[in-house]
């Protein structure tokens, strides 16, 4: 698989949307031109962030079953994408997330305690109880405000990137969208604007094969790849093994350099698999074989990076098990701290906060209604 120069134009890479960029082979070796040649430290940092993300997801899923939170969504099996991208991009860059890229926040060092407090909607909820669990916002960590509605923030990524260019900054934007959500008109409008204004943005389609109960075919996967959408706009499109930490990193670096050097937007389809149910409200056994996750051909991103480190002689099973337990304990302790503050219903932010930030300054309606509530 060739590695094209970053100043390619779409006609030179019209074949790429129909192939798949991979670097980690079956034996855990890094092969091919797309190997980003990362240091063992960086790989270890990535492995740990993926493991923390997964451990946290598992813990919170259980917390929901225990009635401690109203809702939760896991990213199991997709951790390589958000973790590698958070590490490959710069502090000044901004990602426009979906609800399935919490790995970004973990990799960027956002306090797990903040996550847990929001998930429990308790007095310390960093978003003051205004948002559901998983709908995070963390500007200082390059993480834009999530909302429940799908697809509608890709255009914000384009505008944000255009503003960066307008100011002469070299910050770039990265937008995430699930394969199912690519059907929304907002996705097309964002790509059209990105194309016309040559915005410094990376459009990432996380194709995890499922949209709640609907197979990726519902968004058109039976007719072509999601990477091929790029050809329709004359943009380079990459199709990448999303469970291959190295490939995700390399593709992201390539697209980021294009954007930063004013070569325009890139669309990347990350081919991955939604290992868990859609959310705590979902029961996947109703619509897909129970063993499908195990049968997934592209493997598990954590295992694959672990095996690679072992092949490199940097890691072994015992150390991995130890790390697993260490991560488990870390997550457990932090969640305990959050539980001490309170879980859903037992504790909540000060009520006045319900009335703040509707506008920069409250108008008479807010002031009167706050009084009506005796505040």
């Amino acid at each position: 698989m060739r590695l094209p120069p970053i100043d390619v134009v779409e006609p030179d890479v019209r074949d790429l949307p129909y192939t798949m960029i991979r670097t980690l082979d079956e034996d855990g070796q890094a092969v091919g031109k797309w190997d980003p040649k990362l240091s063992a430290d960086v790989l270890m940092k990535g492995l740990r962030a993926m493991m923390v993300t997964r451990a946290f997801d598992d813990r919170m899923f259980r917390a929901h079953r225990q009635g401690k939170t109203s809702f939760y969504m896991k990213s199991t099996g997709e951790e390589a994408i958000s973790v590698a991208q958070a590490m490959a991009l710069r502090a000044g860059d901004m990602c426009f997330p979906t609800y399935r890229v919490q790995g970004w926040l973990v990799a960027r060092g956002y306090p797990l305690l903040n996550l847990a407090n929001q998930i429990f909607s308790n007095a310390e909820d960093p978003l003051a109880g205004r948002q559901m669990p998983v709908m995070y916002s963390a500007r200082d960590y390059g993480f834009y405000s999530i909302s429940g509605n799908l697809g509608s923030r890709m255009g914000h990524a384009v505008g944000w990137g255009m503003a960066s260019a307008y100011r002469g900054d070299d910050n770039i934007a990265l937008g995430y969208i699930g394969e199912g959500s690519t059907a929304e008109g907002a996705f097309h409008e964002a790509l059209t604007f990105a194309t016309v204004y040559r915005a410094p943005v990376i459009v990432c389609v996380t194709n995890n094969q499922w949209a709640i109960s609907s197979y990726s075919g519902i968004a058109g996967a039976e007719s072509t790849t999601f990477a091929a959408r790029a050809i329709g706009y004359g943009l380079p499109g990459l199709r990448v093994d999303g469970n291959d930490f190295l490939a995700v990193w390399a593709a992201t670096e390539w697209a980021a350099e294009r954007a930063r050097t004013n070569h325009g937007p890139t669309l990347i389809e990350f081919f991955t698999y939604r290992g868990a149910g859609h959310s705590t409200s979902d029961d996947p056994s109703k619509y897909r074989p129970a063993d499908e996750p195990q049968k997934w051909p592209l493997g598990d991103p954590v295992d694959r990076l672990r095996d690679h480190l072992i092949v490199l002689g940097e890691w072994d099973e015992t150390r991995h098990e130890k790390l697993k337990q260490e991560v488990f304990a870390e997550v457990r302790d932090i969640v305990k701290q959050a539980e001490a503050v309170g879980t859903l219903g037992q504790s909540k932010p000060p009520l006045e906060l319900m009335f703040e930030d509707v506008f920069k300054e409250p108008d008479w309606r807010i002031i009167e209604q706050r009084k009506e509530l005796g505040l």
């Binding site: 559901m132 909302s147 059907a183 949209a211 932010p349 009520l351 509707v358």
Partner: protein, 337 residues
């Protein structure tokens, strides 16, 4: 007569109409094989086949547009928008196309579509799984808007909506899918079983659009409500012991203006209750209509009890939700004159 909860009643209405009319087709996100995230279309694909009940791409504008085109051909599409909060990407299709097609083509084309969508709060759904957008649709000439408050009405009104040759928004109060919630969230959840309006005929029947239901007869004040709020109103009326006429509007377009004016002229007082935020909400229109038609009968100001003028705040759900306590206050206030 079988007892049904609201989901079963809606499912039964769809099942009956699929059986009666080959032009009825049902589609939306996850409604086919899966049967809908709230199970309202459960088993319909299995029973009636892939072409009668199927999944769609995630594009609400595309769902509505497809339904309009099918309607123009002669079908009667019934579409589901998974949450009313997500109807907005389809807003242009509903307003600029569905609502206007008959008028602008002088009756050559029309859109006999039904848009089902779970709406309202009370399930800890946060900002984008709790909103009540009925007011913005009520303002659109050419659209009808229906909101049932119990299983019997849900089935009968949905059948009328499907048979209607105009585009109908059918908002389902998701909080009362499984039981008649009256806003007293600290109490144990009630099932529909045993509730008089949970007795629902198996087969075909309809409840006309535009006729309010008198849920309780009284002399001192008229209460106007719909959806979940009908149950909240009842709780507040019991709590206060105030002798109220309670009108369940059932549809806000068409509106049963006769029933409303007759009641207010009788009682001389009116309290309006809805979940949506107050400013510019449908309560304003109701208040204006009552004031215009009953001015000289009014003993005290018409009151509105509503959600606050903030986005729907996840953790503060019960502070935002206009429950029986707020309603009772208003009832007592209007009785002071």
């Amino acid at each position: 007569m079988p007892s049904m909860n609201m989901i079963q009643a809606l499912n039964s209405a769809l099942d009956v109409m699929l059986g009666r009319d080959p032009d009825v087709v049902i589609f939306g996100e996850d409604v086919g094989y899966f049967g809908g995230v709230f199970r309202v279309t459960d088993k319909l694909q299995e029973k009636h086949g892939l072409t009668r009940c199927f999944d769609t791409p995630i594009a609400e504008g595309g769902i509505v547009a497809t339904a309009i085109g099918m309607g123009a051909y002669g079908l009667r599409p019934v579409i589901e928008i998974q949450f009313a909060d997500y109807i907005l990407p389809g807003f242009d299709q509903l307003v600029s196309e569905a609502a206007r097609l008959r008028y602008r083509s002088r009756g050559q084309f029309w859109a006999p579509i039904t848009v089902r969508s779970p709406y309202g709060g009370g399930i800890f759904g946060g900002q984008t799984h709790s909103q009540s957008p009925e007011a913005i649709f009520a303002h659109v000439t050419g659209l009808k808007t229906v909101i049932p408050s119990n299983p019997y009405d849900a089935k009968g009104l949905l059948i009328s909506a499907i048979e209607c040759d105009d585009p109908v928004l059918f908002f389902e109060p998701k909080r009362i899918y499984n039981g008649p919630f009256d806003g007293r969230h600290e109490r144990q959840v009630q099932p529909w079983a045993g509730h008089p309006n949970a007795e629902v005929p198996e087969g075909y029947f309809s409840v006309p659009l535009g006729k309010a239901a008198l849920m309780r007869e009284g002399a001192e004040v008229t209460v106007l409500a719909y959806g979940t709020m009908v149950h909240v109103a009842l709780a507040a009326i019991e709590e206060t012991g105030i002798d109220a006429d309670l009108l369940d509007l059932r549809s806000i377009v068409p509106l049963d203006i006769e029933a409303i004016t007759a009641s207010v002229k009788k009682t001389g007082r009116c309290v309006i209750l809805h979940e949506a935020s107050r400013y510019g909400g449908f309560g304003g229109e109701l208040s204006a209509l009552v004031q215009e038609r009953c001015f000289f009968h009014l003993k005290s100001p018409i009151e509105r009890v509503t959600g606050w003028d903030t986005p729907y705040p996840h953790a503060f759900e019960w502070d935002y939700f206009p429950g029986p306590a707020r309603m009772a206050k208003a009832l007592r206030r209007v009785m002071e004159n």
